[in-house]
Symmetry: C2
Subunit: 282 residues, 2 copies
């Protein structure tokens, strides 16, 4: 399935992440993945995450990653997928938008895990393109992937995650996008520190976007969440300050971070589109 | 081969990285690995690294990682291995010590790559134990792997790389140990930043120890070095200041960093033992 459609999407995304063409190819790839998943067996998983239930798709002996039963909803894509394509997704109610984004984000990943080439980079790249496309359209500007750093001599180009620069009078957004973070999350804070140091604290707002922190033990079929909230607090205090952390499936232990010092703002990705102006407000 | 010997070493190392028992088991494991490698076929590799030549061991269709022809020298281990065991390695001349440490460091890794369980963590763990043992003995203190971070409330334990604390009147050493770094190297600078923020700048000296940055393309048999010197400069300027970076096989492009602003001190690991006092000097 996915290979020519995936390749076409990546090529189109390079020409403009927020373009109509990229949007259309994301939509096509999601629908094709969902059509195949519709005919695929499901197995319930044993959730060790309080308040959340997960299943997986199964082909032969291969299991997909864990999927939230309450958030995965192909019917929502059939009904509201047009709002993704025409750019009005920000007007959907939170509950609908949450399920729409979750289902779209995870569909290609499942399909690639079950019938893909075994290339683990593709689901990550698709997720980056999907998130980059949403924010490029909502912020009205395509992101770049590197930034010129003036260090007297010689100059250096620092590869970064997405940088959205909406222009005069607005702050820029520094957006790392990851399927999951674990220990590697320190990179997001460290890159934010570099941007603060080079351009002044606050010139770039750090906005981390992550799919989930679930881990499936394929032998026992148990789903856990791997979270490091103590370490996040230390990074937020001593490396840099991230402005928002958006998840498609908010981990239980990170959901408890807002409101507790140092008050890391973790929330559902769907929230971003109700506060999109705040991300770049001076 | 390696499984019971490896397991015994890891158990002993937990009880004391610098202990006589750990030292003896490292020596045994290295000698056993070298004995097997002696009977193993070698193939020359195509080096794209200026001034360096590499070979690999081969078993069936499996190639080991690349090995420096001029630094890998089992005869040196036979002749001077006793200096490793009795703790007088710091008195060897630089050229001998360089080859001794390189040969010991890489021997188990090659053996594990060729005939091991496919567990990629073991060579990394062996390397950490080997480096930790050398510095525990030369600094006269065993390292810890986490540090209590006081953030008002609640306290947090931050997992770190090795922390050597030689006691009153001396600085501590923060030592990340890696087989290679690539993009993940930013973690070393970010952890140093946290320590600077929590304990005051300079209380911990950052000393990064790395085996090499070589990459072997197993299809073409070409060896390259993956280096990011521009990014290192940016990290050193804007995240934290590492005090030393020691390599077993110093990458050509990092060898050019000392003396050029911001003057990152990269050198051969063998140098560490001629300047061991400087690492913890007030």
């Amino acid at each position: 399935l996915a290979s020519p459609a995936y390749t076409a999407l990546i090529r189109m995304a390079r020409g403009g992440l927020g373009s109509e063409g990229t949007t259309g190819l994301i939509s096509d790839l999601v629908r094709a993945s969902l059509a195949l998943l519709e005919e695929t067996d499901r197995v319930d998983l044993i959730s060790s995450v309080p308040g959340k239930a997960y299943f997986a798709f199964q082909v032969g002996n291969t299991l997909s990653g864990p999927i939230r039963i309450d958030l995965f909803d192909p019917a929502i894509v059939a009904q509201y997928g047009a709002a993704f394509v025409d750019g009005t997704y920000g007007n959907l109610n939170q509950d609908v938008l949450e399920r729409l984004l979750y289902t779209m984000a995870i569909s290609y990943r499942c399909e690639a895990e079950l019938r893909g080439t075994g290339d683990r980079k593709r689901p990550a790249t698709f997720f980056e393109v999907f998130i980059g496309n949403l924010f490029a359209r909502s912020l009205g500007v395509n992101p770049t992937n590197q930034i010129e750093v003036l260090t007297l001599q010689p100059r250096a180009a620092l590869p970064t995650d997405f940088i959205f620069d909406p222009g005069p009078g607005r702050r820029s957004v520094h957006m790392p996008v990851k399927l999951s973070t674990r220990e590697r999350v320190i990179q997001a804070w460290a890159h934010q520190r570099v941007l603060d140091g080079v351009f002044g604290v606050g010139r770039f707002r750090g906005v981390l976007v992550v799919l989930s922190e679930t881990k499936l033990d394929r032998a026992t079929r148990e789903v856990i969440e791997i979270c490091l909230p103590e370490q996040w607090r230390v990074y937020q205090l001593f490396i840099a300050q991230m402005f928002r952390v958006y998840y498609l499936d908010v981990p239980v232990r990170y959901a408890a971070l807002p409101g507790v010092f140092p008050n890391i703002q973790v929330g559902q990705l769907s929230l971003a589109f109700t506060e999109i102006d705040a991300l770049t407000a001076p």
